[in-house]
Symmetry: C2
Subunit: 220 residues, 2 copies
């Protein structure tokens, strides 16, 4: 796997000790996070649009409608930025200024390309589903030719990608440790609740093995 090398525009400058350029860290964040915020400019105005993403190897995939502005703009080959953030906690310091958050984030720079090969397209669409609930793809009606025609898949290479990670407790100024203010971390995480059946689900259809297994693993 090629290492993502920091370039002049992707080297973390503010608090550089929190910057990571290794693919192991980058991939783990991309794989855990569900949603990216994708930036591109139209007529000089930047837009940042939330999109589901999925990584396979050295590429991050997006999908959307053939008619979508984001899809059409990115497919034309403009510079883009894909950013995803996991929020891990509130960092409560003794001083206001040293309040912070624990987080893991990834920024990917580059042009997106339209994925035209049918095998890669199919693999990406499967990856979106498998990423959410492993095993789900085998349980559902797969896309028809007409549905595939309405859908575009985009890919960004992980050549110019950076991660930034903050973890641990607050870091206060030395003299503030004498204060009797409580300080610490409130952990935060995206958590699932028990699956809610569709109103139109026919009687007697129990959660499928993929959904039931996924829920059981999380104690739901």
């Amino acid at each position: 796997m090629p290492a993502a090398q920091p370039t002049a525009r992707s080297r973390v400058r503010r608090i550089p000790k929190r910057g990571r350029h290794d693919r192991e860290t980058i991939d783990a964040i991309l794989d855990e996070s569900l949603v990216s915020h994708v930036g591109f400019a139209v007529d000089g105005q930047p837009f940042v649009i939330p999109m589901l993403h999925a990584r396979l190897g050295d590429r991050v995939y997006l999908h959307g409608s053939t008619a979508s502005r984001l899809v059409r703009t990115l497919a034309a080959g403009v510079p883009a930025c894909l950013t995803t953030t996991l929020v891990d906690g509130l960092v409560l310091a003794r001083s206001a200024m040293h309040h912070s958050m624990n987080y893991r984030s990834v920024v990917v720079l580059g042009d997106a390309v339209l994925v035209e090969g049918p095998d890669e397209r199919a693999a990406a669409l499967e990856a979106f589903t498998e990423k959410l609930i492993p095993g789900r793809w085998a349980e559902i009606r797969t896309p028809s030719a007409q549905e595939l025609k309405a859908t575009r898949v985009l890919a960004m290479e992980l050549h110019e990608a950076t991660a930034k990670v903050r973890s641990g407790g607050p870091v206060d100024d030395e003299e503030d440790y004498a204060l009797d203010t409580w300080a610490g971390v409130v952990p935060l995480a995206l958590r699932a609740g028990p699956p809610v059946p569709d109103e139109r689900l026919a009687d007697g259809i129990a959660p499928s093995p993929a959904v039931a297994g996924w829920a059981a693993e999380r104690g739901l």
Copy 2:
């Protein structure tokens, strides 16, 4: 409160029934979400950077270092986009294509301005803390003159803002309701865990009233 009017570039076009332009919806999403993804371009390359935000009235505030590229770029008055997303659930349909997510997101377009007035600056910095844990500001050491000098506060007006909301179960093609595939929603939400004291917290300092009250409200 002025209504945010959809403009040519902020009217939701894809699945427009999910678009909302009322400030009540927009404000509620901005107030619940902690992190924005802020887009701006430098030399034609868009960057999307995660930042804490806080809303007061018609403005969304950001803060960072005087030396930060984001802060310096936005303070110079370039077009920007601030987007925030709350993920509410995985929508598991009978067909692959109708898989989706439940979400609430806001996109704010416009230039950011540097907040220079000391009162507005102080109110914004307090808002960041109060938003996380109400009552925390009164418990902590407030910023020194030197700390304030190192910090910049930026504001974006909510003039050109859009929300988009998806909720409820999957919407399958009529013929797919005959399949015996389980379908429904897995709710997702950012949840807090019990507060973890700082390693350097002196013995006998219990969680402060603001932190203890916040944790108790969430059953932690």
